[in-house]
């Protein structure tokens, strides 16, 4: 465990922002560890979820927003379901990655790229085009070997569409993204 100098490093504004954006009172966390005990992703995390909560309480913005854990949380809701103090922990994790994005941080860059590729697909077609999403991800990351082994398994099943299913209202969906970007920049 690292020693934290709270007098020097406590970022009060960060704690307030997390609480405001998540609608949660993070000071209710008394470190019982139930969230970490049930979290299936602890083995892949650099910081267990209960310690993320503690670091948020301690206003450790940089450590939290630079962590890999916030990009590896699948929002499986185990922590939220089992928290004895009714903290929506998964929502806190979600809000932390929103904040990390705004700071230009993504400690597991390929996860962010995958999610962005997904949203690009929705923006372009109104619905996700699965094959296009994979190609977009591979192009952006250069990880050309991704799921190569699955091709021979899935192609004969005849269920992977080769063309997107564009919806009539795709401009409407695109406008949702445009307005979102305008609102975020204003």
């Amino acid at each position: 465990m690292n020693i934290i100098n709270l007098t020097r490093d406590y970022d009060e504004d960060f704690v307030h922002r997390v609480e405001e954006e998540s609608g949660q009172n993070v000071s209710l966390c008394y470190q019982c560890g139930n969230c970490t005990a049930g979290c299936p992703y602890t083995f892949a995390y650099d910081i267990p979820v209960s310690q993320i909560m503690r670091l948020v309480q301690a206003g450790q913005k940089k450590t939290v927003l630079s962590s890999k854990s916030i990009w590896l949380c699948a929002t499986c809701e185990s922590c939220t379901t089992r928290c004895p103090n009714m903290i929506d922990v998964a929502c806190v994790m979600d809000v932390l990655r929103h904040m990390a994005r705004r700071e230009g941080l993504a400690a597991v860059p390929q996860v962010k790229t995958f999610w962005d590729s997904f949203l690009d697909s929705v923006r372009a077609h109104g619905r996700v085009f699965e094959l296009g999403l994979l190609i977009n991800y591979v192009t952006k990351t250069g990880r050309f070997w991704t799921d190569m082994d699955l091709g021979p398994k899935i192609l004969p099943k005849g269920k992977l569409a080769f063309k997107p299913h564009d919806i009539q209202g795709k401009e409407h969906v695109a406008r949702i993204f445009e307005r979102f970007e305008r609102e975020s920049n204003s």
């Binding site: 299936p40 992703y41 083995f43 892949a44 590896l72 699948a74 929002t75 499986c76 809701e77 185990s78 939220t80 379901t81 929506d88 998964a90 979600d94 990655r97 929103h98 994005r101 597991v108 390929q110 996860v111 790229t113 995958f114 999610w115 962005d116 997904f118 949203l119 929705v122 109104g126 619905r127 996700v128 699965e130 094959l131 994979l134 991800y137 991704t146 799921d147 082994d149 699955l150 398994k153 899935i154 099943k157 005849g158 269920k159 992977l160 569409a161 299913h165 919806i167 009539q168 209202g169 795709k170 409407h172 969906v173 406008r175 949702i176 993204f177 307005r179 979102f180 609102e183 975020s184």
Partner: protein
């Protein structure tokens, strides 16, 4: 009894989970539950949207909720738990006026509110009911040992999902038991399979899905019945990756629960779609049913 509910198939229903869509439609038709397609529905945003921004996520989902409202309906059923979560979360968050105002700002048409989304599993349980399901069985699934796997978000968090038990859900077990199957107690019913990390972090999925397959073998299941397109993909399509990563040799069929229902209801093979799965459930299924005879 024929009640109508709007139907939201979700994007994977047009692709990697086609067989979930066709078997769902066939089963609901056979049981008198009328699914009405939502015209020009769009993606709910799924996980990528809520990990980016909650207002954006709610707006993508609310466009569809408003389409349901325009149909004069108050409820929609979806087979996909991820769509379900997003649709329910959007409706729930929009009950707060300041949040809804932000969502409406992103939409062409404001969301009128009050559209309830339920899973197909919930619609079958509550709108059709176990008695009707039971009396419609033509080929009982006798002798088939099934582990019912619900996935992580079908019932969680309970305050939002408001259906079944969040730690030990039973709706799928009850339906498949009503169809004659022997449902085995499965301790990892709600554990996460690795979700959408299959592409960016296949090592994570291999580990978590491997645990589930190992547990299913451990409880003596012939197959794992699922209710989520992503769980199905991780456990079935990625089963080879799981085996390579863990040095295991699983060959576990992972059908959708609606496909098993369709077998019991004597629905046509094309609509059941077993040929779309990687590990073919048919050999195990015919063996189990033959032994029971």
């Amino acid at each position: 009894m024929s009640e109508a509910i709007a139907y939201y198939p979700g994007c994977s229903g047009l692709g990697t989970s086609k067989e979930y869509d066709t078997s769902t439609r066939a089963v609901c038709a056979a049981l008198g539950l009328s699914l009405v397609d939502i015209p020009d529905w769009s993606c709910c945003g799924s996980s990528p949207a809520h990990t980016k921004d909650h207002v954006l996520s709610a707006a993508l989902a609310a466009r569809n909720l408003q389409l349901v409202s325009d149909m004069g309906l108050k409820a929609a059923a979806t087979p996909c738990p991820s769509c379900l979560t997003n649709l329910r979360t959007a409706n729930h968050r929009c009950e707060a006026a300041p949040f809804k105002a932000k969502v409406d700002k992103l939409l062409d048409d404001p969301y009128a509110g009050g559209v309830n989304a339920v899973s197909v599993l919930q619609a079958l349980t509550e709108m059709v009911g176990l008695d009707t399901v039971k009396s419609a069985v033509r080929t009982p699934l006798k002798g088939l040992k099934v582990a019912c796997y619900y996935g992580c978000i079908m019932n969680r968090p309970p305050e939002l999902m408001a259906f079944d038990d969040c730690e030990n859900p039973m709706a799928m077990d009850n339906i498949l038991a009503a169809m004659g199957a022997e449902v085995v107690p499965f301790p990892l019913k709600v554990e996460c399979c690795g979700a959408s990390y299959g592409i960016p972090r296949p090592d994570v999925v291999a580990k978590l899905s491997g645990k589930l397959l190992d547990a299913a073998v451990g409880v003596g299941a012939d197959m794992v019945a699922v209710a989520c397109p992503l769980c199905q993909m991780n456990l079935d399509l990625r089963q080879g990756q799981v085996n390579r990563a863990g040095g295991t040799n699983f060959r576990m069929p992972v059908p959708y629960f609606t496909q098993l229902m369709a077998v019991a209801l004597n629905i046509a093979d094309e609509e059941i779609g077993f040929s779309k799965l990687c590990v073919d459930p048919r050999p195990v299924l015919s063996k189990a049913l033959a032994v029971a005879d």
